[in-house]
């Protein structure tokens, strides 16, 4: 069975600093990988996704993620964090030809002034 690990429960970053959120997955074949963001009282919003091809994926709001097969990782990055980025971030994996997603437990991002 596939699984997703987000090792950091909370991360605090100063506004303007760079950000990297970690995600490791366990899946036998090439997975489909996603990052979602959830703000309080809001639904999950897709930031970016990887299916195949270029391993560096660009998303919305200035986020990017890199798929590294050798490390089974799909870390999310942003060069300069804004206060509005404070939210919970979820990494998710989908199987080839299968309809549902398996989510990690999430990382709560706090942005300090």
């Amino acid at each position: 069975a596939q699984s997703v690990t987000q090792p950091d429960i909370h991360i605090t970053v100063s506004e303007g600093a760079s950000l990297e959120l970690r995600c490791n997955y366990s899946y036998g074949a090439t997975p489909y990988l996603f990052w979602y963001v959830q703000s309080p009282g809001q639904g999950l919003q897709l930031l970016l996704k990887y299916f195949s091809g270029d391993t560096l994926v660009q998303g919305i709001k200035g986020f990017e993620a890199e798929f590294k097969r050798s490390q089974s990782s799909f870390n999310l990055r942003k060069p300069s964090v804004h206060w509005s980025d404070a939210a919970e971030y979820f990494c998710a994996v989908g199987e080839t030809g299968y309809s549902t997603l398996t989510f990690g437990k999430g990382t709560m991002l706090l942005v300090s002034p």
Partner: protein, 118 residues
């Protein structure tokens, strides 16, 4: 256009009662998903509909949980004899429902229904 909507936004009920949670997907989306998000956890898959039929209900925890989508649009998640452990945020998502390789289909999530069982 309108996104996925869910009603009610909050539901408080007593142990043993029956509840219904409603999901209104994005117009034209044939695929609909239910997930449950417990405190401090990521969403966990419950059931997936393609059109009117449940294509995968392997995530339903037990037979107290049931979901329907009679006309291929609105879906209702039904929980009988609620227990305190059912307290969670129930999320609904919809997607276009592309044939083949459905994992590539972007899922759009609603704001969720927060269920509290006293």
């Amino acid at each position: 256009g309108a996104g996925v909507s869910q009603t009610p936004s909050n539901k408080v009920t007593e142990k043993g009662k029956y509840v219904e949670l409603r999901c209104d997907p994005i117009s034209g989306h044939t695929a609909l998903y239910w997930y449950r998000q417990s405190l401090g956890q990521g969403p966990e898959f419950l059931i997936y509909f393609q059109g009117t039929g449940a294509a995968d209900d392997s995530g339903l925890p037990n037979d107290r949980f049931f979901a329907v989508r009679p006309e291929g649009s609105v879906s209702t998640l039904k929980i009988q004899r609620t227990e305190r452990g059912d307290s969670a945020v129930y999320l609904c998502a919809s997607s276009v429902g592309l044939a083949g390789g459905l994992s590539t289909d972007t899922q759009y999530f609603g704001p969720g229904t927060r269920l509290t069982v006293l």
